[in-house]
């Protein structure tokens, strides 16, 4: 039986990181958001990039995830951006800390102004609750329910044994939200790196094993950079392989097409960042590897590998190998039923649907034009 969680198809969802501004400056925030930050995505850029996303491969991108910072900080922009996205056919989701849900009526009023938003992820944890009381979360949940919006509650912790964390989980369960809780582990990047001594993470010498589905959903930042995911790599200068491009330099379609052939990205998607560790070990590069990783935190593995220029150079060299690249292409075909990489490497044998070989594993698919081949 397949116990894997369902995954979003590659590039079927894209994120807009609308702002670094936030009502609170939590110590665990990887993007170092806060009231002091000024960087916001310009409205005209947001709309232009959403339009490009809509046109990509004739509507391949289905989901538009709005994040920050705190997207509700600029409610007028959020309303315009979400409405434009919905008009172009996107499913709109948003992340928020619910600072706006001071009462039930206010929460209902705010969400009513955002009819295009279909899903809301409400963040609450020990750090958020220093500024945003639990009642605000309850009000936001109530308003989402009243308006028929989908929602989940994201809780971050450095240690699942922490008493305060456990209290939050109990409180959420007490209001009937057990099924909506999504827990994640704090990793030391951004502000969390500067305050790492305050966290009490468990570590292990072996990396977390498992494929990362979040790397299927790239994110656009206010300055036009595109990252393969919303993880801690976003805090690094854009010279690592998960930095996909810059929309002030090229079109979104060029950036996304090129990502189809990114061997680091697809190794992480197919197997997980631990596979990169295995590759480095196979090539005798153990000395470069981190000595420990945070337990159950794949982002930590990715970050620790790709923040080291020597490791990035070594991986780029290893992944030049044609056989490894073909392995990744076949693995995408086998595990994910994704044909584009195999097609771009000219691994297809025929366009005849009836041809089969007894020792082979044929896969057929309708594909979009392979513009990344150029």
């Amino acid at each position: 039986m397949d116990t894997n969680p369902p995954e979003l198809p590659f590039l079927s969802n894209i994120g807009l990181m609308l702002t670094y501004r936030c009502t609170v400056a939590c110590p665990h925030c990887i993007v170092e958001a806060g009231p002091h930050r000024k960087e916001e995505m310009r409205l005209e850029h947001s709309l232009a990039w959403i339009e490009q996303a809509s046109a990509y491969r004739h509507g391949h991108i289905k989901g538009l995830a709005l994040t920050g910072g705190e997207p509700f900080y600029n409610l007028e922009n959020l309303a315009q951006i979400s409405a434009y996205g919905e008009a172009l056919g996107f499913i709109i989701s948003v992340v928020t800390n619910a600072f706006w849900a001071s009462t039930k009526d206010v929460a209902l009023g705010v969400l009513s102004r955002l009819p295009a938003i279909q899903m809301i992820s409400i963040s609450t944890d020990v750090y958020h609750q220093k500024s945003i009381p639990f009642d605000y979360i309850k009000n936001a949940v109530w308003a989402a329910r009243e308006l028929g919006r989908l929602y989940n509650i994201a809780v971050c912790t450095d240690n699942e044994e922490d008493r305060q964390y456990q209290k939050i989980i109990e409180d959420l369960k007490a209001i009937g939200e057990a099924d909506r809780i999504r827990v994640s582990i704090i990793f030391p990047a951004g502000r969390a790196q500067k305050r790492a001594r305050y966290f009490n993470s468990h570590t292990t010498p072996e990396p977390t094993v498992g494929a990362c589905s979040v790397a299927s959903s790239p994110v656009i930042f206010p300055d036009g950079r595109v990252n393969a995911c919303i993880g801690p790599l976003l805090t690094l200068p854009p010279v690592h392989p998960m930095s996909l491009g810059d929309l002030h330099q090229e079109a979104l379609s060029e950036v996304l097409d090129r990502s189809e052939l990114n061997p680091v990205l697809h190794t992480i998607r197919v197997w997980g960042p631990h596979k990169l560790v295995s590759l480095l070990r196979q090539h005798g590069l153990d000395a470069l590897l981190p000595k420990e990783y945070i337990c159950d935190c794949p982002c930590d593995v990715c970050y620790k590998l790709l923040c080291d220029r020597r490791i990035v150079d070594a991986l780029e060299s290893i992944l030049q190998d044609k056989q490894i690249r073909q392995t990744i292409a076949y693995a995408r075909l086998y595990y994910l039923n994704e044909t584009t990489m195999a097609e771009l490497y000219h691994l297809h044998v025929t366009d005849c649907p009836d041809r089969r070989k007894s020792d082979s594993h044929p896969r057929a698919a309708s594909t979009a034009p392979a513009s990344a081949a150029s």
């Binding site: 994040t67 899903m119 595990y335 297809h348 594993h361 698919a365």
Partner: protein, 67 residues
């Protein structure tokens, strides 16, 4: 509208043997900054459709394996 193209790929036996012995394990998605949860979406949309009398009078939902 783009014409549908059908391509056929053959994964060599040597790769198949390796992949068959390496079941893929997917980590739970990191939720904090990433709200899209297709389980939530799917269940919500299906529930909405099932509850819609007009929809039910005119359509039915069939879940079939991918081709």
């Amino acid at each position: 509208m783009e014409p549908v193209r059908e391509l056929r790929f053959t994964i060599p036996k040597s790769f198949l043997e390796v992949f068959a012995q390496e079941p893929r394990f997917v980590l739970k998605p990191f939720p904090g900054l990433w709200p899209v949860d297709i389980r939530l979406l799917r269940s919500g949309l299906l529930e909405k459709l099932v509850a819609d009398e007009e929809f039910n009078a005119n359509f039915e939902i069939m879940i079939v394996p991918r081709g």
